[in-house]
């Protein structure tokens, strides 16, 4: 960059009339419509079914979380970008996407300060400190969520999802993942599929996540390798306890449709910044994330593990990228 600018300067100072030659590294063909903004708007569109389902199921709780999440993310993006002295760029919608994903990953009953702190940490620590959009190592929304999850275990943990005495039916039951963890109860598959269960705002409905996720993959905004590999790994690993316990496939369905797996596989793990570059790398990433999800679900104290699985795989992404450098033609 600097050299090009210098060269341009020397040319203009010499004042020789010469044709302007643009030199840029390949690839020279590009889809100019494929911008960050378009990708982010695609993600927002894909999140509409999940948002609609959350609003239908949790009503004012969902509305409140979404408003706090998006608002706090936009405000902190403005502030932190200003602090770094770069241009304010709310137009690329990335902060809004982080806000929506963060809000949809929160428990419906989470207090306002938890969501707000999560948003500030997500944008500030998770994204801007690393250099802004495209530079972050970890998925910003998950950084924020992990921060408040560890900080406020009392109001964010598995038990905090249940609230009695509200007008929202779903809140009165345990989340499917927690019910299974605590009591070994499997939720009915149709309930998990349509999403009439308790859980984080966006994760309850499998069909909403699938709709949005397939839209993302068809639009090539998200690469299909990650969700496919992740879900396939979960199916394979879940089939072992399923067969061992004679569940007849219900345990597999529970692990695939219940919890945050589909939401995480389609919307969180596919974050193009934190995931590997090549198809092979993406497959490894998906397999690793799926395996970690099952490891955490089956053996950790937490009933759900998508957040930590994605964060851990984000951490090894540079390594995967190094393993999977494609060979150029003629190279042995």
């Amino acid at each position: 960059m600097i050299k090009a600018a210098e060269r341009q300067q020397t040319v203009t100072t010499k004042d020789i009339p010469s044709p302007e030659i643009h030199v840029a590294p390949s690839p020279h063909l590009g889809n100019t419509h494929f911008s960050t903004r378009r990708m982010m708007i695609d993600v927002l569109i894909a999140l509409v079914p999940a948002m609609g389902m959350a609003l239908y199921l949790f009503r004012e709780y969902a509305l409140r979380q979404l408003l706090i999440g998006i608002g706090a993310c936009l405000v902190s993006e403005l502030i932190f970008v200003r602090l770094r002295g770069t241009n304010v760029s709310l137009k690329d919608c990335s902060a809004a996407v982080t806000g929506v994903i963060l809000a949809l990953s929160m428990p419906p009953t989470a207090p306002w300060y938890a969501t707000a702190i999560a948003a500030v940490v997500a944008i500030g620590l998770g994204k801007i400190l690393f250099g802004g959009l495209g530079m972050n190592i970890f998925n910003p929304a998950m950084v924020g969520r992990a921060f408040v999850m560890i900080s406020f275990a009392g109001v964010m943990g598995a038990g905090a999802y249940e609230a009695t005495g509200t007008l929202v039916d779903a809140l009165s039951q345990a989340t499917p993942m927690n019910a299974f963890k605590q009591a070994g109860v499997l939720a009915p598959v149709p309930q998990l599929f349509w999403g009439l269960t308790n859980g984080s705002l966006g994760e309850t409905s499998a069909v909403a996540c699938l709709l949005g996720g397939i839209y993302l993959c068809v639009r090539r905004t998200a690469s299909w390798e990650i969700p496919v590999a992740m879900i396939a790994t979960v199916i394979v690993i879940a089939s072992i306890p399923d067969m061992a316990g004679y569940h007849g496939g219900r345990l597999i369905m529970h692990h695939v449709l219940g919890g945050a797996l589909l939401f995480g596989a389609f919307f969180i793990a596919t974050d193009p910044v934190g995931s590997p570059l090549t198809p092979k790398g993406k497959t490894i990433f998906g397999i690793g994330a799926g395996a970690l999800v099952m490891l955490l679900r089956l053996y950790s104290g937490y009933p759900e593990g998508v957040m930590f699985a994605v964060l851990l795989m984000n951490a090894v992404t540079p390594l995967i990228n190094r393993w999977t450098i494609p060979r150029t033609m003629g190279e042995y």
Binding site: P111, Y113, A114, I117, L125, F147, I150, S151, F152, V155
Partner: protein
């Protein structure tokens, strides 16, 4: 050889201009490990002050006898002597605090802050300069420990020196008490310190 700083310069430099934690980035292990409460941080700072002052004084006194190839060994042995004294005194009079700090008091032996001061100042300058250097660096170290511990304890438990300062409804940020909180707070404070010094 370049002219050595005077005792006053050494003293002043240790506090802010060459703060061991914020400017030199040395001795960070206890910074991250024991700053989740003010009491632990202050105890640590006092222990480090004791060891640093004594070690600097002794090294400065024996500096004509130091052999270049053996000096690090002598530094370490001298430091270890005083650390053992500090460790045993803590265990005798502040048993609970000694338990809380665990291995971090013995670890002062390998705290590079102290070896660094022995090497940079005490092995080259007279006793008075060495002691004033040690006191200055200790004050800087204590201030740094306290600044981090202050943020972590108030946010993490709503308390300051074990007394309630936040309203009862304050939600404890448990992550601040855990190790990640140490890294996050230290990083943010370090960034702030750099930002302030850049603006000057």
């Amino acid at each position: 050889m370049a002219e050595q700083p005077t005792a006053l310069e050494r003293f002043v430099q240790g506090i802010l201009p060459e703060n061991p934690v914020y400017r030199q980035l040395i001795g960070l292990c206890p910074i991250l490990a024991i700053t989740n409460s003010m009491q632990a941080a202050v105890t640590m700072a006092v222990a480090v002050t004791f060891v640093l002052v004594c070690a600097n004084a002794v090294i400065s006194l024996i500096r004509p006898l130091l052999k270049p190839h053996l000096r690090i060994v002598i530094f370490t042995l001298t430091i270890a002597t005083f650390v053992t004294i500090a460790d045993r005194v803590l265990a005798a009079y502040l048993y609970q605090m000694s338990k809380t700090l665990g291995p971090y008091i013995p670890l002062i032996i390998v705290n590079c802050l102290i070896i660094c001061r022995c090497e940079v100042c005490a092995s080259k300058q007279p006793v008075f300069t060495a002691v004033s250097d040690a006191v200055g660096q200790s004050i800087g170290y204590g201030l740094a420990l306290a600044s981090i511990a202050c943020v972590r304890e108030v946010l993490g438990t709503g308390m300051f020196f074990g007394m309630r300062v936040m309203p009862a409804a304050w939600p404890d940020w448990s992550v601040m008490v855990l190790p990640p909180g140490g890294f996050i707070v230290f990083g943010l404070l370090l960034g702030t310190a750099n930002w302030i010094s850049n603006r000057r």
